[in-house]
Amino acid sequence: MASEQYSASDIVTHHLEHWRVGEGMWAVNLDTIFFSMLCGVVMVFLLWLGARKASSGVPSKMQNFVELLIEFADNSVKATFHGPRDFMAPLALTIFLWVLFWNFLDLVPIDWIPLLAKTVFGLESLKIVPSADVNATFGLSISVLMLIIYYGIKGKGVLGFGKELMTHPFGANPLLVPFNLILNLVEMIAKPISLAMRLFGNLFAAELIFILISLLPFWILWAPDIVWALFHLLVVPLQAFLFMTLTIIYISLAYEDQH
């Protein structure tokens, strides 16, 4: 096995390195971008397969399944968000499915695709799980932050949104404005950070454990691998669902008056 030539820490670090092009500020994690976009394209393609021949009669199995997903997203949004759902429901479904696909990549045995990439394309390092890259999770959560601000302004108007930032939660006293503002800004920034770090932390840790399991001798490796994979099967949809639900809640909070 590889562990005879490399030390354990070499292998671990190797598995945690990205396929990275460029230097410093301009560096790009091509593996994250490639695999997340691949996930997204596959996702949209599958959804499109169901929508392609949409009929109001007896639906095909694929259409039925996609309808199920649409109703799931629509109901999830309806439960907390009381504005128009033309954008919100597709947003919720996109988040859920995209993150779900990302997370599922974690169940692909850890060596397969990097090994393939190395032998076929000569790539030294490759990480295929986008959600184990902070850039992917933050890319998503910062977009969500932008949507939070957009929906805050849309729901309350520029003045209403600004007023809430300055007068909530302590009151409209001018002396309290800085405190309100600081508190609200912290709260606002905490949202994307917690969203991104929760997803990243879960998936990164899970991947790390898969890497550590892969260091075990091959004759026992399968046992902890199966146990962890089964457990991980719970984490995969849970984290996707959490990301979606929290996004809906955050946007609803910004959009609607809570007082």
Binding site: R20, V28, N29, S36, L47, A51, V66, P90, F138
Partner: protein, 157 residues
Amino acid sequence: MEISPLTLIAQGAGFFAFIYATMKLVWPPLTQAMAEREQRISEGLAVAERSAHEKELAKSKAVETIREARQQSQDIIRQAEKRAAEIVEQAKQQGRQEGERQLTAARSEIEQEVNRARAQLRAQVADLAVAGAANILKREIDSDAHQQMIDELVKQI
């Protein structure tokens, strides 16, 4: 775990692109199909309910019709029985009258016959008696003297 701004931006752009694709490609046809199906199902249910109601109505109407028909047929049968009884009664009466009429005719004929026979007999008996008496009493008895006695005898027959 290094932050790469370009990766972040690419991820964000991809995110919005996928939302857009989902919103434009997937949502409209399916939500429309689902709304149409909902409409069709509710219409179908309404039709089913209405036809069930109509069936119930038709059923009670049929029961009513059958009841009326039965009533009518019973009336007809009763009338027919009555009519038949009348006809039989009439026929009996006619028969009786005819019988009586024939009986009367026969009686009167018999009477006439009897009368005629009696008249003939009376005529013949008178002659016979006269002839017999003439034979028996040839010599002594005068036919004129005993004529009255013989007439009386003839009357008694």
